[in-house]
């Protein structure tokens, strides 16, 4: 996977900020995407388009708060293809995997900047910052979790394998 970075330095970017409860009247991804991140950055969607950004980098404890799965759904529908942060709240972490949105714990948060182009090789466990020409090792997910992500989420994974 290759893409441009949009970075938010804030720690504790919570699920109420990603998608406030006032918009939880639906699980329609497009509607959620329209309001995604708007309390933190009203120009979020425009910036993504302008910069062609698909990889979101955030501060520690990303996705803390409510268990609402609409948070990763909104980000994914906004065009985010991967989320990188030093740490994630555990429910958000699971939710991302379960909807097929790759997520990476990455301690060298300062090494990534808005507009950097980065390339991620999930099976090898390598993150390559093409803009700074630096390579980093990242944690490889256990195979069955990789399979869930590749199936575009747990429901599809379960349909294929188990149900």
């Amino acid at each position: 996977m290759k893409g441009n970075v949009i970075k938010y330095d804030e720690k504790n970017i919570n699920t109420d900020l990603i998608i406030p409860a006032r918009y939880l009247i639906t699980s329609d991804p497009d509607y959620l995407a329209e309001h995604c991140m708007e309390d933190l950055d009203p120009d979020f969607n425009e910036k993504l388009k302008e910069m062609g950004a698909t990889i979101m980098v955030g501060g520690m404890n990303f996705g803390c708060g409510s268990s609402r799965e609409q948070a990763p759904i909104a980000l994914k529908a906004s065009g985010i293809k991967c989320i990188i942060a030093p740490s994630f709240a555990r429910i958000f972490f699971r939710n991302c995997i379960n909807i097929g949105l790759p997520i990476i714990e990455f301690k060298d948060f300062d090494e990534l900047h808005t507009s950097d182009e980065i390339e991620i090789e999930f099976t090898e466990g390598i993150l390559n910052n093409c803009s700074t020409k630096q390579k980093y090792k990242i944690m490889r997910m256990p195979p069955f979790i990789q399979e869930i992500i590749q199936s575009n989420g747990l429901v599809n994974f379960a349909r294929k394998r188990i149900l």
């Binding site: 406030p20 639906t26 699971r94 379960a158």
Partner: protein, 422 residues
């Protein structure tokens, strides 16, 4: 082999492929109970994707609890339709443990109705499912897709967590509550001190706390990132649970040689009331530093602090008095059982006479989609668990979190007020 923590013991007891586990292992475990609220709606929709339709069955209808608490009574046609969808599903699947709009908040009602027992492994479609740790159950929240999978399979993957321990000692000063302890921990150790981890709360302070006060700690522990948050496994828990169920159970205690990643020592003998200031739970100040901040709304309720002892301490503070003219006070009992008890004991009347609005049991104002919303620039003191920007209405409003005593004292004075000063 070294000893095991409570989390390790319960997960080992539920591990489907043996019992030898250690932190960081990823295991598949059998679930004792699956709880869901309004999120059940998404489960119903995912169920329709199962083909052929005749195999659309939950794993065990007796191990599922469905409860309405976030949007009670339905505030719009949209939510009425979601309720309708879920009611039909519940009937069709033969789920008997269904609690409709009157009962209250899941985390209060499930223990009250005897669904929660020591040693259980419970998942719920709500982040604050950690609350049942007060009853010595390993319980955690999930999103809707995990919930769907749990409904179908009755099992789920877990990463075995490391355990940290908070040893809390000393006698709590008057008008200082367990909420003040847990907010203090958030302030001192940040909102991610327990991310992915299991917490064990120990020490003489914990032993002396009521079950309700322990529930507050296990509930708010989610705000520290916790996966599980166990209270003290003692006779108080046994007595409480035995009053609610005849099902057998055994307390799960940690081994003396269990390995803890870290132990934090906290002495609460001189603790003053604590406030989580906007907009993160770990932006904590002692009340002396924020006292005098004018407020527009005071909210007493939620799965953190909407229990009888919380209403009682507020009533004690407000007895025979009127809340400040510029403040609206909203009181939302956490369950119908609590509501009835508060009505019988005169607590409700005291609060109403003081000028509070009492609503039906529900998640209420806490999550900003049912009632008690804030206008831009308004400030609210709340006994709930989140003060995130936009949480209770306008993104330009501010929410301060404190104990029920602090909420009542502040409602009385119209500004954030130390309950010890009254």
């Amino acid at each position: 082999m070294s000893g095991q923590t409570i989390a390790e013991k319960i997960l080992a007891n539920h591990f489907l492929s043996g019992s030898d586990i250690k932190p960081d292992d990823i295991i598949i475990a059998k679930l004792d109970l699956v709880m869901s609220h309004i999120g059940t709606g998404k489960v119903v929709i995912d169920f329709r994707k199962i083909r052929p339709s005749k195999i659309r069955k939950v794993f065990d209808p007796n191990k599922i609890v469905v409860i309405f608490d976030h949007y009670n009574p339905a505030p719009s046609e949209r939510w009425a339709s979601v309720h309708d969808l879920i009611r039909n599903f519940v009937k069709k699947q033969g789920i008997k443990n269904f609690y409709d709009i009157k009962e209250g908040i899941c985390h209060q009602v499930l223990p009250e109705k005897g669904h929660v027992r020591p040693g259980m492994l419970i998942v719920g479609g709500d982040s604050h499912t950690t609350t049942y740790g007060a009853f010595n159950a390993a319980s955690c929240g999930l999103g809707n897709t995990d919930l769907f999978y749990s409904y179908v399979k009755g099992e789920l993957w877990f990463r075995v967590p490391h355990t940290i321990r908070f040893r809390i000692t000393g006698k709590l000063p008057p008008s200082v509550m367990s909420k003040d302890i847990i907010i203090k921990i958030a302030g001192d150790h940040t909102a991610e001190v327990a991310t992915y981890k299991s917490i064990e709360f120990t020490g003489d302070t914990m032993e002396n706390l009521s079950i309700a006060s322990r529930m507050t700690m296990s509930n708010f522990a989610l705000e520290l990132g916790a996966k599980f948050a166990f209270g003290v496994p003692d006779q108080k828990v046994v007595d409480w649970v035995k009053e609610r169920t005849t099902e057998p159970f055994e307390l799960v205690k940690p081994d003396p040689d269990a390995i803890y990643e870290k132990t934090y020592e906290i002495d609460v003998s001189d603790l003053e009331p604590q406030i989580s200031c906007p907009h993160t739970v770990d932006n904590v100040k002692p009340i002396s530093e924020v006292a005098g901040t004018k407020i527009n709304q005071a909210f007493l309720g939620s799965c953190t602090n909407g229990r009888l002892e919380d209403l009682e301490i507020a009533a004690k503070i407000l007895e025979g008095k009127r809340i400040h003219n510029d403040v609206r006070m909203i009181v939302t009992p956490a369950s119908q059982e609590i509501w009835i008890k508060a009505a019988k004991s005169g607590v409700s009347e005291t609060l109403i006479n003081a000028g509070a609005v009492i609503t039906n049991p529900s998640c209420g104002a806490c999550f900003g989609a049912l009632g008690g919303m804030l206008a831009p620039s308004e400030k609210c003191i709340s006994s709930s668990n989140r003060n995130f920007q936009g949480r209770m209405g306008s993104a330009a409003a501010e929410v301060y979190l404190g104990s029920p005593a602090t909420v009542a004292a502040s409602a009385l004075k119209g500004e954030i007020t130390d309950p010890r000063d009254l």
